[in-house]
Symmetry: C2
Subunit: 449 residues, 2 copies
C-alpha cells in the first residue's frame, strides 16, 4: 500500500483539470491547481472572438471565481516546466521566479499547443493558430487590418490579395472560422468602406482529407460541404499546404498535380496541434503528436499516481480506438481520475477508463450547423438552434451566459459584431519607400456635390 | 477669397474629431478622418476597463460603424506623422507604408499622450499611464498580477509590498482608479485567495496640490476627500513624487520635509499628459504641455484653414482663462470649426470660439460621486446616480449602452467584475535563482480534514 493521498496537484485549468478539481470537492485532500493563465477558456467559442463577435471576457471565467466555493482547492498562477516523478514534485515558473510544489498525486491536463507540421518557425509568422485568447485576438487583428489595408491599396492585385482569406484545416474550428469570415465580409463590414467593396472578399478553406470535418459521419460531412459552398466559401479538399509566406500560400493536390499559389495577406492556421513541451520531459512514451501514452486507468506507466487526461493523453478504448481530443473526453477523464484519487484505488483494482461519446457539432456561417449525437444527425437551421442551446448552457458562469446570449441576439438582429477593435501597440511595420499620394475619395452616389 | 473647401482632413477620431465630422454631414465637402486606431474610445470610462469592471469593446465603437451612414466621410487607418501647411498635405503612416493626403481644410484633433514630468524613460516602465485601451489593459494586468504574485510570496514584507497600490495624481482619473482599487481588493477578490487576504491591500493616492480634484469647487473637493477616506484610501495631498523604481515610490512634501519611501509593486500614473508629437512639428507656438497656441477661431496663426481642437489646442476665453481639457470642450470646438468650414467663413468674419461649461463629475468607489454643474453641486449617492445616467447616455451606440448598463447592474448586485483576465503573452520575466519550495496550502477553516 502506498501512503495516503494528501495533496493533489493539477496542471491546467481547462475542461479536464477543472472537472477533476470539482470532482474532488468532497474528498479529504488538498488540491493545488496550477495554470499559466488566470482563467478557464471556453475553447469551442474561440472562433467567435477571432471573428469579432464576442469579447475575450465573455468566453473566459477566472479560475478563482469558478473554484471560489471549494475551500480544499487553491489556484496558483504559473507554468509547470518540469515534473520530477521520483521526488514527487513539479517545478513551476511563477510570476516572480521558479518555485516547486510537492504532490502525492499529480494530474497533468496541460493540453496541446499550435504546431505547423514541423514548420513552426517558417509558417507561424504568416499563419497564426487558434488555441488561446492571444491567438484569437491576433487572428481578429489580422482580419480587421486586412480590410483597412485594402482601403489604402493602390492596385487591384494588391486589393485582391488583401481581400483573400485562407483558412488551413477544415475541422470544426476551420469550418467555423471560414463561415465567420464570410459573414464579416458579406454583411458586417459591407457598408463600412468607401474605396473597397468588402463583399468581394474571397474565403478559401484548405483541407488535406478528401472532405470537410474528417471525423464526422459521411452524411453530415456532405451537408457541411453544401452549407459552406452555399454561403460562398471556396473549399479545396484533398489539398495540402506546400509553403506559406508573406505573399500567400502554395497548395498542391494530395493526389499530385501542379502546385497552385493563392495570393493572400491573411492565412489562418486551424490544422495542427502538438502536446505542450512539458509532455516531452516526462520520460514516457509519446505518440506522433507528442501526447503521453497512458495506461487504461490514464496513469503513466510505472507511476500509478501520476495521470494524464484530456488532449494530452494518448488513450484508447479496449479495441485500440483512440479517444478523441474533445472537451467531453477531458471532462470525463478528469472525473474518472478524481474518483481513483478520492478512493485511493490501488493500481490493480482500477477499472479501465471508458469514454462516452456525447456527439459533436460545428456551426457554419450565420444560421446553419451540423450535429452528430449517437444515432441522431441534424443539419441546417434546426442543428444551429441546438448548437446555440448546447453552447450557451455549457458556458461557465451565468453572467457569461447572459452576456453571450444578448450579444448573439443583437448580432443576429443587427448583423453587427461587438468586438471590432484593432488594439495592438505594435502595428504592422511600415514598409520603407516613397510617400505615395492618395487621391481624396470620390463622391459616392447620393452624397452632396 | 481663398479657393472653395472641397476636401477636409480630420486627424483623430476622439470626441473632437468625431463631433467635427458629424457636424459636416450635410456640408458640400468630402471628409477623410484619419486615426491610428480603428475605434472611438469613450475615455471617461477607461478606468473601469483598468479596474476589470468593463471589457474594452464596451467602451469603444468602431469609427466605421459610427460614421457608416455619412457618405461624405471616409475613415482611413493610419498615424499622421507630419503636416505640410504650405503644400496643404499630411503624411500618414498607413499600415503598409507612408502615404500622403491633400487637404483644403485640416482639423488637428489628435489629443494628448502620457507624460511623466520629463522622466518618461525612467518612470514609465514602473508607472503605466491611463490614456488608451492598451494602457488600461496594462494597468488591469498589473493590478490582477500583483494579487497573484502576493499569493506566491514568501515573506510578509514582500506580500505587503505586492498588496500596496499607489496612484499618482488625484484628478478624476486618479480618484476613480483609487476607488476602483479599493472595491477590487475589499470586495471582488475578497474570498478568492487561500494564502493572502486581499482586503489587507493598501491604496495610496498622491497629489501635489493641497487637495484632491484640483479644478473642482472647494465644497466638492472636501466631499470627495471625505468619500475617499471613508472607503479607506490613504490620501497624500501636498506631496510630489521624487522617484519611481521597481521597489516602490519616493514622495516628498511640497512644503519640504524628509522624503518617504512607499514599497509598492504597482504604481499607476494619472498625473501628467503632453501633446502628441505631431504638434511639435507644426512650427506654431506651443504651451508648457506642448499644446498648440491657436487664435480665437481655433485656427493656427497664419493658417486660416488649419484648426486645432480639443486637448491639443491651448485656447482661452476673452479674459484669458484657458479652456479645460475635457470632452465637452473638444465636442464644442469640433462643432465650431465645422461651422466655419461648411460656411467657408473668411478669417476676418469669424466669431470667437466660446466654450460652455456643462459641469464636471467624478465617481468615488462603488456608489458615491461628486458633481459640479453651474450652480448645482451634488455629492454622495444622488451624485452617483446622476453620474451613471450621464455616462450611459453619452456612450456611443445603443449596443454599448445596453451592455454597459447590464454589466453595471450585475456588478452592483454581485460585486463581481466581468473583465478579470490576465492575457499577456509576455509574462513578468522570471527572476533567476534557486527553485524555492512552497508548502502545500494549509486547510482553511471548514474544509474536510
Amino acid at each position: 500500500m502506498s501512503a495516503p493521498i494528501r495533496h493533489v496537484v493539477i496542471v491546467g485549468g481547462g475542461f479536464g483539470g477543472l472537472a477533476c478539481a470539482r470532482a474532488l470537492a468532497g474528498a479529504p485532500v488538498q488540491i493545488t491547481l496550477v495554470d499559466r493563465r488566470n482563467h478557464h477558456l471556453f475553447q469551442p467559442l474561440l472562433y467567435q472572438v477571432a471573428g469579432a463577435a464576442l469579447s475575450p471576457a465573455e468566453i473566459a471565467a477566472p479560475l478563482r471565481v469558478v473554484l471560489r466555493k471549494q475551500p480544499n482547492c487553491a489556484v496558483m498562477l504559473g507554468e509547470v516546466t518540469r515534473v520530477n516523478p521520483q521526488g514527487r514534485s513539479v517545478e513551476v515558473l511563477a510570476p516572480d521566479g521558479p518555485r516547486s510544489l510537492h504532490f502525492d498525486a499529480l494530474v497533468v491536463a496541460a493540453g496541446m499547443r499550435n504546431a505547423w507540421f514541423g514548420k513552426d518557425r517558417e509558417w507561424a509568422p504568416f499563419a497564426p493558430g487558434m488555441k488561446d485568447l492571444d491567438d484569437a485576438l491576433e487572428v481578429r487583428r489580422r482580419i480587421l487590418l486586412a480590410f483597412e489595408r485594402a482601403e489604402w491599396a493602390n492596385s487591384p492585385e494588391e486589393r485582391h490579395r488583401l481581400l483573400t482569406f485562407v483558412v488551413v484545416g477544415a475541422g470544426p474550428t476551420g469550418v467555423e472560422l471560414a463561415g465567420a469570415l464570410v459573414e464579416i465580409a458579406r454583411r458586417s463590414l459591407a457598408r463600412d468602406f468607401r474605396r473597397i467593396n468588402p463583399t468581394e472578399a474571397r474565403v478559401v478553406l484548405i483541407e488535406g482529407a478528401p472532405g470537410v470535418l474528417p471525423p464526422y459521419p459521411p452524411e453530415l460531412r456532405r451537408a457541411a460541404l453544401e452549407h459552406l459552398l452555399a454561403i460562398g466559401v471556396e473549399v479545396r479538399v484533398g489539398h495540402r499546404v506546400q509553403d506559406i509566406g508573406p505573399e500567400g500560400v502554395s497548395i498542391v493536390g494530395t493526389e499530385g498535380g501542379a502546385p497552385e499559389f493563392i495570393p493572400s495577406a491573411t492565412v489562418l492556421w486551424a490544422a495542427g496541434l502538438r502536446a505542450v513541451p512539458l509532455a516531452d520531459g516526462l520520460g514516457v512514451a509519446q505518440d506522433r503528436l507528442g501526447r503521453l501514452v497512458v495506461g487504461p486507468d490514464l496513469s503513466l506507466p510505472g507511476h500509478p499516481w501520476i495521470f494524464a487526461i484530456g488532449d494530452l493523453a494518448a488513450s484508447a478504448d479496449a479495441e485500440g480506438r483512440p479517444h478523441p481530443g474533445v472537451a467531453q473526453n477531458a471532462i470525463q477523464g478528469g472525473t474518472f481520475v478524481a474518483g481513483l484519487i478520492a478512493a485511493g484505488t490501488p493500481p490493480a483494482a482500477r477499472p479501465r477508463y471508458a469514454y462516452t461519446d456525447r456527439g459533436s457539432m460545428a456551426v457554419i456561417g450565420r444560421s446553419r450547423a451540423v450535429v452528430a449525437a449517437g444515432p441522431m444527425q441534424l443539419s441546417g437551421r434546426r442543428a444551429w438552434v441546438l448548437w446555440l442551446f448546447v453552447h450557451l448552457m455549457a458556458l461557465v458562469g451565468y453572467r457569461n451566459r447572459l452576456m453571450v446570449f444578448l450579444q448573439w441576439a443583437m448580432s443576429f438582429l443587427t448583423w453587427e459584431r461587438s468586438g471590432r477593435l484593432i488594439r495592438d501597440r505594435e502595428r504592422a511595420a511600415a514598409l520603407p519607400g516613397a510617400v505615395t499620394p492618395l487621391a481624396p475619395p470620390s463622391a459616392p452616389p447620393g452624397s452632396p456635390p
